[in-house]
């Protein structure tokens, strides 16, 4: 142990002249080294020997202890941390170097992530843990599940690390029994019963036919719901949430198809558009659910497919078609909701009256249709939505930032159904702030999850006085009846 002393302090302590101390040091009687700030460093035993010689109690303190806190006692030594075993050889988490290897830990991702810091989450940490082979720790962590897979991190990454793919890969490698229960149960129910909520076929058919009759007797004379119509041009899927709790919402699309005189059909089997295999990182389930849509296309001899309207379902289905069923993807005409609505609009198949919607309106960009679609498929739906919205309303204002830089609503990546409600609301604070700053009273979305999150979670939590509509609801309400 080394003591740090000043010559005059030592002189005072031992009652001698400071030159005496210097002489002792110079002659080697008191071995000492010159230290910083005109101090000398003296070994503890040499100092104590000197104290013994003069019959004094040692006064100086070890150099390591803070000079300002001489009264403090030695801290009780803590148990050394358990060493973490790094298994660098393991590459299960990221078979592709672009998933972690090329990260330079610059922190751009953390800056872009709206929930970085929550529960110590930081995209960099996750990438680093994957790189260091901390598999057990990262698989047990809830971070990849609190992430909404919004992709802002990836967009800001200068090294082009595929953070989303890594996050899905980590989700996919967790033991299925430990996947957040609602998500995993949604996947298994869909695989077993054909839709996430397990709605029986008879109930479904009765509902859609009843709704069709209702529509045919009111707004759309002669309308009946087409189910299993072989040779219909367009196959349409259904988000099971709608028949389950919001059946009337189904009719917005039906009214648009009626106006456009579309030849379309629903399937009586496996009509689900939702694909939670995307959320749980389970490619095999994701593929099965996409395959069912392909089977329905073949069975009903349809030529065109309307990709499911919810953001994740659009992305998962398109991704699945391109990855696992490329031939079908080429054979069929594939529409996103934006493509189809714009086609109707430009071909004059539907006419819209913008004076129907007079509130100041803004458009929320779904991460899956926008930023993520741009990266995965080379095209992000930004301008299309704006063209459609502005054809339906008189006053439009952008949120800032928007399009590729838009903030996630907070409910993506399965967060709407996951048990992490507090994180989901916190994540949405940026979106709430954007909405408020825009002054808009009507928020339009192209995704069921975004809509529910903004209307039922962000609006009450952040006192937003707004109405939220889906894009197709906005369009259906602005339809001008054919004369």
């Amino acid at each position: 142990m080394v003591y740090e002393v000043k010559v005059n302090e030592l002189a005072e302590e031992f009652g001698v002249h400071r030159n005496t101390i210097r002489n002792w040091i110079n002659s080697g009687t008191l071995p000492a080294q010159e230290g910083p700030g005109r101090r000398y460093l003296i070994q503890a035993e040499d100092y104590h020997r000197l104290c013994d010689k003069f019959g004094r109690k040692p006064k100086a303190f070890p150099a390591a202890q803070a000079i300002n806190a001489p009264a403090q006692e030695q801290p009780t030594p803590q148990a050394p941390p358990v060493p973490i075993r790094l298994s660098l050889s393991s590459i299960h988490l990221f078979p592709d170097p672009a998933l972690a290897d090329c990260c330079v830990t610059c922190g751009s991702c953390a800056g872009a992530c709206p929930i970085a810091g929550v529960d110590d989450l930081d995209p960099r940490k996750i990438i680093r843990m994957a790189l260091l082979g901390l598999e057990e720790e990262i698989l047990a962590s809830d971070w990849p599940w609190k992430c909404t897979l919004c992709g802002r991190c990836e967009e800001s990454c200068p090294a082009n690390v595929k953070i989303l793919e890594l996050m899905r890969s980590i989700r996919g490698q967790r033991d299925r029994a430990k996947v957040p229960h609602p998500i995993q149960k949604g996947v298994t129910t869909c695989l077993e019963k054909g839709n996430n909520l397990g709605i029986p076929k008879d109930d479904f058919l009765q509902l859609v036919k009843g709704l069709g009759t209702e529509l045919g007797e009111t707004i759309c004379p002669g309308f009946t719901t087409p189910v299993d119509v072989r040779g219909a041009r367009l196959l349409v899927t259904v988000n099971s949430k709608e028949p389950f709790v919001q059946p009337r919402q189904l009719m917005w699309w039906w009214r648009i198809f009626y106006a456009a005189q579309e030849s379309w059909t629903l399937s009586s089997e496996n009509w689900e558009g939702v694909n939670w295999g995307f959320y749980s990182g389970d490619d095999s389930s994701m593929k099965t659910i996409v395959e069912r849509i392909v089977d329905n296309m073949e069975r009903l001899n349809c030529q065109a497919l309307l990709l499911p309207e919810c953001g994740h379902a659009y992305y998962a289905t398109r991704y699945g078609l391109e990855k696992w069923f490329p031939e079908s993807a080429r054979k069929f005409k594939i529409y996103s909701i934006f493509d189809l609505l714009l086609e109707y609009l430009t071909a004059g198949r539907i006419n819209l009256d913008p004076t129907i919607h007079n509130k100041l309106t803004t458009l929320h960009d779904s991460c899956n249709y926008g930023r993520k679609s741009l990266k995965a498929f080379g095209h992000g739906y930004f301008s299309e939505g704006r063209t459609i919205v502005q054809a339906c309303c008189t006053k439009f204002r952008e949120m800032i930032p928007n399009s590729g830089d838009s903030y996630c609503c907070g409910a993506g990546g399965g967060a709407w159904a996951s048990p992490y409600a507090a994180e989901r609301v916190f994540h949405g604070r940026e979106k709430a702030r954007q909405i408020k700053a825009s002054g808009a009273k009507l928020v339009v979305t192209s995704c069921h999850n975004c809509k529910d999150q903004i209307a039922h979670s962000l609006a009450p939590e952040f006192n937003l006085e707004i109405e939220v509509k889906s894009l197709w609801e906005l369009v259906a309400q602005a339809l001008v009846p054919a004369s």
């Binding site: 229960h181 609602p182 909520l197 397990g198 529910d452």
Partner: protein, 106 residues
């Protein structure tokens, strides 16, 4: 595994506070507990009718019914069901009836 204690009885619940063992654990005391959580003032005959309808359908089909079916069997319009269960038929009513949480984007 989370548990909830109410008036001396303990219940195993999932991450969202739904009964894990469903009908095996369900009792009037559970209804009383969910009443408090959901901010329902008093359990009326109408609440009971919804609970009965949910349980009966679940026994037959292994899932919760679509809201239209619930409307039809109880005779309550959807609006009335939301008045009875402010968090909705999928969350509040299913929880009270001891059904598992519906597994869609509801």
């Amino acid at each position: 595994m989370a548990t909830i204690d109410h008036n001396g009885t303990s219940y195993e619940v999932d991450e969202d506070g739904f009964l894990l063992k469903g009908a095996d654990d369900w009792d009037e005391n559970w209804v009383d507990y969910v009443k408090g959580v959901e901010g329902i003032a008093e359990i009326t005959d109408e609440h009971q009718k919804v609970i009965d309808a949910l349980q009966e359908y679940y026994k037959k089909n292994g899932i919760a019914p679509m809201v239209r079916i619930l409307s039809k069997t109880t005779g309550f319009p959807l609006k009335r069901i939301y008045e009875l269960f402010p968090s909705g038929p999928g969350k509040g009513a299913c929880k009270m009836a001891g059904l598992p949480k519906p597994t869609g984007c509801v």
